[in-house]
Amino acid sequence: MTEIFGIPIQAFAGQLLIGLQNGCFYAILSLGLAIIFGMLNIINFAHGALFMTGAFAAWYCTTSLGLSYWAALAVVPVVVGLFGILIERLLLQWLYKLDHLYGLLLTFGLALVIEGLFQHKFGSSGQSMSSPEALQGAVNLGFMFLPIYRGWVVGASIVLCIITWFMIERTRLGSYLRAGTENPRLVQSFGINVPLMITLTYGYGIALAAFAGVLAAPIIQVSPHMGANIIIVVFAVVVIGGMGSIMGSILTGLGLGLVEGLTKVFYPEASSTIVFVVMAIVLLIRPAGLFGKEK
């Protein structure tokens, strides 16, 4: 059998695929963070908690409300997104004029409160949710058994990332949005409602997090800690990609998923730190991140 670095090529391919699939979660989450940072200048620490909220909402919809997985996938991002809009209107909008640090502290506090509430209500072991029947089972790819659900996660996330990128970079609405962040006053004088755009952007960023939460729910245990575990890595992804860069966060998310996947094979002990090692190196060489623009 052919080998790469002492590992059979089939096992190697399998590991890459798993890495890619984890990278998809990083990509969707860091995409949301990048949009929010780009448009609102807020470092949204509550992102992980809202990802977790999305997963819990999916679990609740499918077990208690009797909705199907697909219905949950449509409903949950909207509901959690509306919750995000509420947060923006009630709390965040007062902080835009202040230093980044205030937004960071506020959202960090929010994350702790949300996680604490879920822990109090549901305990730390969390809840188990199974994947929808249509996506159960696995296909034999020759080098590994790929659970169909994981294939769906990869497909759905990449499509969503491309749609989001297209909306922001290639449509008229997106151009208003980008102009609004450059010079809100000027754009407003053209009759465009900038505050509304900003609110909707935050809502969309949160909806992305909730969507990732629903996707993740059948794969990892739905527990109050799932957001806290992943969010630090996602922040590193955003920093490596370049704060606020849309394409940067997508590509970096997928890329780091692969890097992490390979680390799990060659030096598993370091798999939780490798992302930060990469971050340190990137910051030393390119302080603005791989895709960021120096200001």
Binding site: P8, A11, G14, Q15, I18, G19, N22, G116, Q119, G123, S124, S125, G126, Q127, S128, S130, S131, G137, A138, M144, F145, P147, Y149, R150, P218, I219, I220, Q221, S223, H225, M226, N229, I230, G261, K264, V265, P268, E269, S271, S272, T273
Partner: protein, 407 residues
Amino acid sequence: MKQFRPAVLAAALAGALVAAPALADVKLSDGVVRIGVLTDLSGLYADISGAGVVEAVKMAADDFMKENPGIKVEVISADHQNKADIASTKAREWIDTQKVDMLQDLVTSSVALAVVKVAAEKKRIAIVNGAATSRVSNEDCTPYSVHYTYDTIAMANGTGKYVVKNGGDSWYFLTADYAFGHSLEKDVSAVVTANGGKVVGSVRHPLNTSDFSSFLLQAQSSGAKIIGLANAGGDTINTIKAASEFGLLKSGKQKLAGLLMFITDVHALGLNATQGLYITSAFYWDLNDETRKWSARYFERMKREPSMVQAGNYSSTMHYLKAVKAAGTDDSDTVMKKMRETPVNDFFARNGVIRADGRMVHDMYLVQVKSPAESKKPWDYYNVVATIPGKDAYLPLEKSACPLVKK
């Protein structure tokens, strides 16, 4: 109303007479026995230990004070966040400023190892219930520490031995990369090889990993018959979840062995994902009338059945308080002596003995998780396969690496 007065007075006098000896006999350093529960109230072990442990210790204190109104017991608690530095700082602060007499639970092995050292230095009793590492009663034993509910050796002798003897003779480990995981892997490996099996490899994953599929693929390609999970809590849960997703168990070629699983993990995963797993446990709520009776009281307070750690916390707190009463003091040396002399006999343990190395030796149970069809009601999860006598479950005293054991 007047005519009742003498009766009331007499009752009060009688009460005072009964209570008086207790007051006069027990000399407490500051008039109260203070128990500090250091546990994980917010992290991945919060369901195994956590608020349930605090409640169990309070239950023991309440029950004890009801019988001994003359002795005041106070329970305080703190969240150590699974961090050894936070835990040992808190322990020091409690002992120095709050006059805590005994430290309880100490879930997470790294925490337990750090805190028993602080307690020994300050001559305070530390009872380890939540943590698993066998080092607590071996290399790292102290004259003031007790390892009560279970340890990694008992897990190895339970699940490990049983699985090897039933044909699972080649093993691959998924090991949590910290003190506990290393201990468990080492102890189970020893049992596997001693019983004619072999260990073909292992992979060490960081604590709090959410996706285990990569590690499971490595385990799968090793070809080992048994994938031993030397991890706990949320990590075990996510491993089993990924294993069932990747169809690892359906093929029948490989089996999982959860080396440290709690009833709360089974509850969180559901019987579909866990049926058929062998688990070694120090306690199961549905063992006999006594366990059912105590667990019903616990259930009333917590709305869930107790884990073995929570039951162990009650039992060990009660054992400690009874020793304080019998010794007539809360002086650590005297109480430790009393705790060692007195066998533990309650709903949790029969003829349990605390040895010189601090190990509390008691019977363990090998249980198998029921299928959804077998389970009649919520929390009806286990079939007891075998009772493992304490002497077979734990490391024999003469093999203990504890320097306090006279050889």
